[in-house]
């Protein structure tokens, strides 16, 4: 549906650009105005003759009206061909889409569905394999079953069992059967309460954290006003945190947020921003605070205070703990991020701030200014493992700067020659350059 959606919108845009009325265009294409209206609002799929007549009336190539749809299909099916088997005839892909647009759309939809399912299976497997509560409950049940089985066999198989032993084993079985009943009940309760019964709703704790932060626009007015005390209410009021792990992760994030807000209250920060602009170094000097705190504060302000802003926080292993995207620079956890990002570069030199102008290699990318720094975590101690966390603030790119090209994730990155590449891109440009 989204493919044909593009066509309808394009027809409408083109008609309005020419200053044509709907009725006039409909007449010259030989269709009724109400039908054209449905087409323009993407309520009807079109192709063939009607598309040709509309294109002629609008004085454009028919491909210009439908190209968006085809481009999405071509890219998607190329990806499907790369993942699948059976050696599809890539050279005839466009012919296939042209002749069987319906089948092509269906194929792409099924491919996407397959990808989602694979992801879901992974999430479920992770949950089962790494769920400590489940492992402990099952271990408890098996231990008790073992004791019961062994004791019951003694009672049945031992000839002339002394009454004292018999009484003792009876008592053991009775005790164990009560424990078993409790263990089994708790296991059933846990499995019943586990989320994910509605198939599309399966989410990892990290997904829930993301949803929670996005729902609040990464800003928490009640914490700004009430400090740490406001956290419980925020967690209780949320309907996206269904897993205990995600509530715990959000609590950690919010506690740090509250600590940052206490050091740098919103009022004075906004005042200083108006005077100095979003310049973390100047702000850090003004307030005598450290840079990571400033980056986090700026990165979690509402746009009306600071303008468009993004924030990425990673731990020492490069795992993304928090991701707020800025327009034109996408951040995705799927498939791993681009190692060229400054947030990874600063991990090598804790405490040394880095400012870079960046642009992602993709069509709708816009240049950004990235400011990153790594800070140590935990209490200082000799020979302790170096636990660190890196923060990267993203602001709209500076005028006249020459941004360095970075990627989003290797799989969808078109940069042909890159020392940091860890897997081939599915985009044809990069693939053919490598071959």
């Amino acid at each position: 549906m989204s493919e044909s959606a593009i066509t309808g919108t394009r027809i409408r845009e083109r008609r309005q650009a020419l200053g044509l009325k709907q009725s006039a265009l409909a007449a010259s294409a030989g269709i009724s105005p109400s039908y054209l209206n449905l087409i323009e609002h993407n309520r009807r799929r079109i192709g063939g003759k009607i598309l040709l007549r509309l294109a002629e009336a609008l004085d454009v190539e028919p491909q210009a009206l439908s190209q968006g749809a085809e481009a999405a299909l071509i890219a998607g099916l190329r990806e499907a061909a790369g993942d699948g088997c059976g050696a599809p005839e890539l050279a005839r892909l466009e012919e296939f889409i042209g002749r069987f647009p319906g089948w092509a759309t269906l194929m792409l939809a099924q491919f996407r569905e397959g990808q989602e399912r694979a992801q879901m299976v992974q999430t479920l497997t992770d949950r089962l394999a790494h769920d400590p509560h489940l492992a402990a409950s099952i271990h408890e049940v098996i231990s008790v079953v073992t004791a019961i089985r062994s004791t019951a066999a003694i009672l049945v198989e031992t000839e002339k069992l002394e009454p004292a032993w018999q009484a003792r084993f009876h008592r053991n079985i009775n005790e164990d059967s009560q424990r078993l009943a409790e263990g089994a009940t708790s296991l059933v309760r846990y499995l019943d309460a586990a989320p994910g019964q509605e198939v599309s709703g399966v989410r990892s704790p990290q997904d829930e954290v993301d949803l929670f932060l996005e729902a609040h626009g990464f800003h928490f007015a009640t914490i700004e006003a009430g400090g740490v005390g406001a956290i419980d209410d925020l967690l209780a009021a949320s309907d996206v945190l269904s897993l205990p792990a995600s509530a715990l992760m959000v609590r950690g994030l919010l506690e740090r947020y509250a600590a940052d807000a206490a050091r740098l209250p919103l009022g004075v920060l906004v005042e200083a921003l108006a005077e100095l602009g979003p310049d973390p170094a100047a702000l850090a000097q003004r307030f005598g605070t450290d840079l990571p705190c400033i980056l986090r504060r700026l990165g979690m302000l509402p746009p009306e205070n600071v303008g468009p802003v993004g924030l990425v926080i990673v731990d020492g292993s490069g795992a993304i703990l928090l991701a707020r995207a800025i327009d034109g620079f996408s951040v995705s956890r799927m498939g791993g991020t681009c190692p060229l990002w400054p947030v990874f570069r600063v991990l090598a030199q804790p405490g040394v701030p880095l400012r870079m102008e960046l642009v992602q290699a993709s069509r709708d990318a816009r240049p950004v200014t990235a400011l990153a720094i790594t800070e140590p975590l935990g209490p200082p101690d000799f020979n302790a493992p170096p636990l660190v966390r890196a923060s990267m603030l993203l602001l709209p790119g500076a005028e006249g700067a020459e941004p360095a090209a970075v990627g989003t994730s290797c799989r969808i990155c078109p940069i042909a020659v890159c020392a940091a590449r860890r897997e081939p891109s599915i985009l044809s440009e990069a693939a053919s350059a490598e071959a």
Partner: protein
């Protein structure tokens, strides 16, 4: 006097049941229920066979097995491992660490008895 079996297991009613069936079969049974100081007991008692649970408080059965095989005096000591986890990975880990027999819970008394007889006869 029968041969000595040392049972290292933390579930009291399993301890009682295994002790009972082995004693009736003529074995002398000593028990110990945590991993912390289990090695001291192994060295002091000098058993003919150790029955070792995997999930123990303190040190795991795998750790203890490593300690036993790492001690020149205990190299040949037969070890029967009991575990609630029957996954291939765990079995392979136990075999790599030098276990003589590996049994998953819940087991039958007859199987335990047979395993103990086999291991000591060898």
């Amino acid at each position: 006097m029968g041969k000595l079996v040392l049972l290292i297991e933390d579930e009291p009613n399993i301890i009682e049941a295994i002790s009972f069936i082995l004693s009736r079969d003529g074995w002398e049974v000593k028990t110990h229920s945590n991993g912390h100081d289990a090695m001291d007991v192994v060295r002091a008692r000098r058993p003919d066979l150790v029955i070792l649970d995997v999930m123990l408080p303190g040190r795991s059965g795998f750790d203890l097995l490593g300690d036993i095989r790492g001690d020149a005096a205990l190299e040949a000591l037969p070890v029967l491992m009991l575990t609630a986890r029957g996954q291939r990975k765990d079995r392979e880990m136990a075999e790599a660490a030098g276990v003589n027999r590996y049994m998953t819970k819940p087991f039958s008394n007859a199987d335990v008895l047979e395993a103990v007889r086999d291991l000591v006869r060898e």
